[in-house]
């Protein structure tokens, strides 16, 4: 029983520290604007360098949805609805969730490993001794870059899945769905609210993943095992957080 309470207290204390860290990150954000070069570099690192995996994954997810959707809809003679089927599936769910999972694996792990390694090689201590706050110089730009990159990557993922590869390439080019029906149904049934809510999900996931990654890296034990643990924890915790938050957000948004 004592062990259970000890574990629970440990989890609560960890959550408390992480929340305090998030508050410190948010208060450090104005200083990021003073160093736009560092922020843009981090945006490149977490955003642009994630493009390949996002574009390729978006394309394949879209193609699979196109094939599966066509097969199911053809049983009801409703293949003209393939466009809206793919669009709503991607915009409401798969876009933000799959992008979030990929982002956690690609950018989240890289952020945690990089900051953890800086901790292990005394780079963060060195900054502190030079009277430079590593929270402002290292953590905050990466955090901001992470949560700005996520909605952009989600949008790119969705465009690849619906327009370029999924719906259009498979549905229209390969399976012969009428392109007019394909686009007009998307136009009629996908509302701006759907896109807004997709972006809200992406933003929430972006904040969560970046927060977890930066926190884990910043508080990693200063050795190789600590860096490894921080990286693994980032991917596992971020993935679970994305799936859990997706349920909560969906329950509130799409009632």
């Amino acid at each position: 029983m004592n062990h259970l309470f000890g574990t629970l207290a440990g989890i609560l204390a960890g959550l408390g520290r992480a929340t305090l860290f998030l508050f410190q990150l948010v208060t450090a954000l104005p200083y990021v604007l003073l160093r736009p070069g560092i922020f843009l570099r981090q945006l490149y690192m977490v955003g642009v360098l994630s493009l390949v995996i996002i574009v390729v994954s978006g394309s394949f997810v879209g193609m699979v949805l196109g094939l599966q959707g066509y097969r199911t809809l053809s049983e009801f003679g409703a293949t003209s609805s393939l466009g809206v089927f793919v669009a709503l599936t991607v915009i409401r769910e798969l876009g933000p969730v799959v992008t979030g999972l990929l982002f956690a694996g690609r950018a989240g792990s890289a952020l945690a490993a990089e900051i953890g390694l800086m901790r292990a090689t005394d780079q963060l201590s060195g900054m502190e001794m030079m009277a430079v706050d590593p929270l402002r110089y290292v953590a905050a730009p990466r955090f901001l870059a992470g949560f700005i990159a996520m909605p952009l990557l989600t949008a790119i993922f969705s465009v690849m899945a619906i327009g370029v590869a999924g719906g259009y390439l498979i549905g229209v080019t390969l399976l012969g769905v009428d392109p007019g029906a394909f686009w007009s149904q998307i136009h009629a049934d996908v509302h701006p609210d759907d896109i807004l809510q997709s972006m809200i999900k992406a933003l929430v996931f972006g904040v969560t993943i970046s927060w977890i990654a930066v926190y884990q890296g910043y508080h990693a034990a200063p050795n190789s095992e600590g860096v490894s643990r921080a990286t693994t924890t980032t991917v596992v915790a971020s993935s679970l957080a994305v799936l859990g938050l997706d349920f909560v957000l969906t329950a509130f948004m799409f009632r």
Partner: protein, 288 residues
């Protein structure tokens, strides 16, 4: 008991040179409550002098530098830098004090995503509004002082360990601090670099009016450039004074450390049960 045959910290012989820049009193510190790294030490870093902190591995020499830098907080006692208690400062106050200190970390702690030039320019860019041309001149001068002006465009990953520490030294003195702390500056240096570094530390200290603290195992090298030496062991200062005074110290810990003797109060082995007990020899003998 500390070797009090030499001058006591609270009455430094260096008073003619200057008052202590750093005054440590009753310092107690431990990573855990049970095992104290420092158990009430008193220590003075006299202004304008090179002070060496020496002692066996694991005695907390690097820890002492981090305590002076305000990175860690002591369990008890005070560390006063130029009349200001370091651990009673707000973060802003602490950062203001750190601008007056430079620290050379054992592994260099260079920023791996910046070039050699940018590493040395980093504190100048962060804390001054100097024009780019002046920053360039200053960086080149600092790099020239450590013999690495030609390496300014190299990435950090292209440097050897010794070169990295020299770049770190150039960065540590970039803001012309009042005090520089060197953590094992001679480790991994070839004889030429070591000789140059020793001369550089001494020259910088005298020419710029710095105060230097060197933490090192290299007894001969450090003794040759230090004005004052403290030997710490078992959480205490066991001997202190000028190099000549410490060399002639009769204190057992200091004698053993300085002469590298196997026998003495400083154990080579980490505390452990007897070897025959660990190997179960007595049990085996009884069974036989």
């Amino acid at each position: 008991m500390p070797d009090r045959s030499t001058s006591a910290p609270d009455s430094p012989t260096g008073s003619a040179v200057g008052a202590p820049l750093v005054r440590i009193r009753g310092l107690r510190f431990g990573y855990t409550r049970r095992r104290l790294v420092y158990d009430g030490i008193d220590l003075d870093i006299v202004r304008g002098q090179v002070t060496a902190i020496m002692g066996p591995s694991g005695t907390g020499k690097t820890t002492l530098l981090r305590l002076i830098g305000g990175q860690w907080r002591p369990n008890a006692g005070t560390i006063v830098f130029d009349g200001v208690d370091i651990h009673r400062q707000s973060r802003r106050g602490l950062y203001a004090l750190r601008k007056r200190m430079g620290m050379l970390f054992q592994n260099g702690a260079l920023l791996s995503d910046l070039s050699v030039f940018e590493n040395v320019a980093f504190p100048l860019r962060e804390h001054t509004r100097l024009p780019e041309s002046m920053i360039r001149d200053l960086v080149l001068l600092k790099l020239d002082a450590v013999g690495l002006r030609g390496a300014r465009d190299l990435s950090v990953s292209a440097l050897s360990g010794g070169m990295g520490r020299r770049v770190a030294l150039a960065r540590a003195i970039a803001l012309d601090p009042e005090m520089v702390m060197y953590d094992e500056p001679f480790t991994g240096q070839d004889p030429i670099s070591m000789a140059v570094l020793m001369r550089l530390i001494r020259t910088l200290n005298d020419a710029l009016g710095l105060t230097s603290i060197i933490v090192s195992h290299d007894v001969a090298e450090v003794m040759s450039i230090a004005d004052r030496v403290y030997i710490v062991s078992g959480g205490k200062v066991v001997s202190h004074g000028t190099p000549a005074e410490v060399r002639s110290s009769t204190e057992a810990h200091a004698r053993q450390f300085l002469r590298g003797e196997h026998d003495g109060p400083l154990p080579f082995h980490y505390p452990a049960p007897p070897l025959d007990e660990d190997l179960g020899l007595s049990r085996r003998a009884a069974a036989a």
